[in-house]
Symmetry: D2
Subunit: 344 residues, 4 copies
């Protein structure tokens, strides 16, 4: 019963097979291969736009490289106070941007809200050399708390960003889960709503380690390729990263897998919510459930082999825990977990 | 006929199979998995020493992270003027070290020599705050010119480094090829000869993208793990990098593959050397051949589909080219290349 | 009527004279001169301790260099959300530390409080590689809001810092004003209360541009001198910076000047507080007054030549403004300002 | 007898007086003052061009900030192998540029020559992501070896730079000495010869610590001001730096002082050259003399109080030493030095 993270699960057989196929014979190195070109085509089609794609091998690399390309060293990056770039990347954005500043914005359900963003922006005087200058807004989709921005919410926030001369980045480590939750197209969720750059994640949804940095406007790409090389993220046998993305994007598998993960989270939430004394903390819109359980229940679940993270220290006899489902989480683990939680 | 680089070839079937096996079920993320632990054991056995191992996905990352761990921002890194870290990493070491300086040393056959090193060191006054301070010597094994340092040569250079308070790093992107050339143990080629940290490469010899940063002394590791994370090089599904290294290190395959590549280079060199007007430029000790051919021959080879790099502009009617062989280069390509070159 | 900042005023005649004297004849460069040695002695006596002193020319340089010496790139620096290092240095600490993270803590009257600090610290798991690691607490003395930490408050906060393995830095750009407010010694206000490093400011209180970075423990100094050089802050004719500090520290002038500035702020606050509709926003303990005035009053004051900063946008018909007094602010300007504000 | 460096001498009385005058009354901070504006005007007139000027307090800061503004992190800076930026700034350019690479070019008499530059440039493939990309040529005027580039030499080198898309920076720490040697205008020595940015030094020729970063083209200035602030080099009481530059540029004093220093160097060289066994190593065109003396002579001179630097270890019984003269070096010290050297 592993609910620690979606990255605790392995990889799709189709992706393994694609890697095996890609292993045959010679191919140009460093991304000049046919598979990388095909990934570019697939993503251009998917997003209905001529875009720039660069594969990398981790979400932190994708975020930090995209942000460093958009933001000068004297820039400010606005993001949710609990976002991955703010909390879980050990200062990678600060390193890659050479010292830009992340401005954490509080907001309900893990989402930046426009009022909070405007409030924060009021502290930065444009052109005042003592202040870092607003340069980018970064949104996490789905959020770290398992919620999802609607296209309308994104457009509203992008509008604020645009008014302040900022670019908009989306950390889409769980982009598939967000898309699976909404009835909209990838384009509607990104550039049509004002997003300039996307960290398109495949790892958490079943790749080995493959993310695509997507720029929707050629002018924004600038020196990205030099930054990637200089950061040791231009891999020689790029075809093996691209093979993952190519298999990932073949057909609708990636959405089906994300739907499955989301459905399991929903099922988990519904099952747990029915137990007295249990409280679902945030809207369950993607593949994560944040739930408050009695401390005793939490201990019992752990003693029976369930793996998950506490989300802060216990308070008033209860602990907030995070449960993440994935493309490969066994359905019976969800049911067993609910049963064990209920048998308190 | 692809002789562009050993990274132009794919991956061993055994490595693909290992990845497939690793894909099943959940596992701890970020290197806390059983495969990563096994790689650590295998390398400790191989190097006859309790050592620290951290897998990464590219040679540039391995080098830059190892060097940044050993060298302060005000440090100097001494290396061959044509080494990979000096020439082919777009300043990654400077970025990761936050502005240390690489000091390129000329030396015959791509090797740093002790006299050149001592001469360069004389320009840096110890404790003089205006000068960057000697902090590391980095040796490439096998070198960029296809030659190999003997354990004695390494020990002599390490001695100079030690006398100046410097650490010794080895860029072992082609460590297997160097080892295959010499009759010695991995330990003799590294820590017994004074090497402190090794970028142990597997990618060029048949992995998808897997290198191990090895520290032979626990005291040197310091904040390596934070640096790796901050640089986006701590991958979540580490087991897939470790699975490659684990399969790579099973049995003696990795040495056999390197021997094969070396033998093909030898065969290529011997065949070419027999052609009038052809000159082998450097000793052929690993899997690369540097050879001067008439310009017309170079053009003909390219027109017949041979892929390789020029190593500088033509001079006096001849062009110096680099030919790299790999674990998977077809033997008949070597023979065809020689034949084509001879039919001038 | 210039209340914009204490740095809007010039310099003491004694400091100018000292520079003139220092200009004669040759002297060793880069801090090996007699004046720099004397500053070291003076400060050691003043702080009753053998300490390390390095003069620099700006407060931002002093803070950023001190913090970069104490904090690794993967470190977190805790400070008040409105502190100078967080808000007014354009990300200098992030640049000098190579990407450490500043964690802003809210706190009444511009002071970090222990509860807020403990709350913030709870979010950082020790040794968890995804999180930046608590490395330093930075306190501003006097604060940006014109308040002053007592030795007891500093000791309490230092205790929390110590419990989490953090160093304590004090931004003392207005150290003189803080000391003038309190009945204690420089030692009691710093190392006896747990402070490890101090940016000792002289510029705002009457030097041209001279600050001393003080480390109270030799072990903390590490590579400070290389960092200063690498940042272009090791000036060749150091004697001219040291001459300022030497004159500044001669006798009790520096405290007398700070007392004068504080008294003028007190007088300004008292005069303004007596006007109906006027509200003093923070305790007036040093040389700054934060006061809410009707918008019309603010406009009238400006139209009559008063110079000062708004501290945020108007709200409910009133504007919060900041008034800073200095060693050289004419007394009659204070009285004129009060009179003008009252005649609304 | 101090010939250690021109920065071993103090400051002009006129500069001290100007600082005293600038100390009166309030003035806008951070460069918005009248003196800074006047310096801008003076330099625009001097260089016959509308230019951008930003004062800083050290030559290393001027160089590193100018270069970081012109060069991206993946850029290469070409300079003489013995230039100040390459050897004596502890890697400041690498730090400020976030990891660009300095490429040292050998060249006779301390000057980059066009052939050496072209040879070095041939190693960098344009657009090849593995190579840092040629971004700037930096020339030192006068050079570290006391020689001076002619306008023609500068124009030739700038032409090569321009052909490779590079900007041209001039380290003019001793610009006055170079100008004093040549019969040309400041404009002819800089932008008319293709120089884009100049570190205009005043410190070595008699200021306390004042250099002006000059950009001859507005488009090149980009984010300079944010970089200066972020590096702690935007001083609050800028008027005191500008007052130095203003007094420095009043009338022709700055040229007269440089001429005096140059003449003393010439006199020193002529006197020494007449002594048997003494060899002048480089052309004496500015205010430095590089001379080979018998080891015994060097010892005797030191024992009699002469202060100077050795320029490398002794060879064949002689030592190469550097003697620098300044605006304030007493004439009789020059004569005494010659006399002492001759009495061997």
């Amino acid at each position: 019963m592993n609910f620690a993270s979606d990255n605790a699960y392995g990889a799709w057989p189709e992706i393994i097979a694609a890697i095996g196929e890609a292993a045959m014979g010679p191919a140009p190195s460093y991304g000049d291969d046919a598979l990388t070109a095909r990934v570019r085509e697939r993503l251009s089609q998917l997003f209905e736009r001529d875009l720039v794609v660069h594969p990398v091998i981790s979400g932190t690399a994708a975020n930090a490289l995209a942000l460093a390309t958009l933001v000068p060293p004297h820039g400010a990056i606005f993001c949710h106070a609990e976002s991955h770039i703010a909390v879980d990347e050990c200062g990678a954005p600060e390193f890659f941007t050479h010292g830009a500043k992340l401005v954490g914005i509080e907001g309900w359900n893990g989402k930046v809200d426009a009022a909070g963003l405007n409030h924060a922006l009021a502290h930065f005087l444009p052109g005042f050399v003592h202040h870092v200058q607003p340069a980018a807004l970064s949104l996490t989709q789905a959020t770290e708390l398992g919620t999802v921005y609607t296209p309308g919410e994104i457009a509203a926030l992008s509008g604020v960003a645009r008014d302040h001369g900022m670019k908009v980045h989306m950390d889409g480590a769980r982009f598939a889960n967000a898309l699976a939750h909404l009835a909209c197209t990838p384009a509607e969720l990104t550039w049509k709503a004002g997003v300039d750059a996307l960290s398109f994640g495949a790892t958490k949804n079943g790749a080995l380690g493959a993310e695509a940095v997507i720029f929707f406007h050629h002018d924004d790409v600038k020196d990205f390729e030099y930054r990637r090389k200089k950061a040791g993220h231009l891999v020689s046998k790029m075809r093996f990263v691209s093979a993952q993305l190519d298999a990932y994007l073949t057909g609708e598998r990636w959405i089906r897998h994300a739907e499955r993960a989301n459905a399991l989270a929903r099922r988990l939430a519904d099952g747990l919510a029915a137990i007295p004394g249990v409280e679902i903390a945030h809207a369950v819109e993607a593949n994560a459930v944040f739930v408050r359980l009695p401390e005793a229940t939490v201990s019992r679940l752990r003693s029976r082999g369930a793996v998950f993270y506490d989300w802060g220290p216990p308070a008033e006899g209860r602990t907030l825990i995070r449960l993440v489902t994935s493309f490969a989480t066994p359905e019976q683990h969800v049911d067993s977990f609910i049963k064990l939680a209920a048998d308190g």
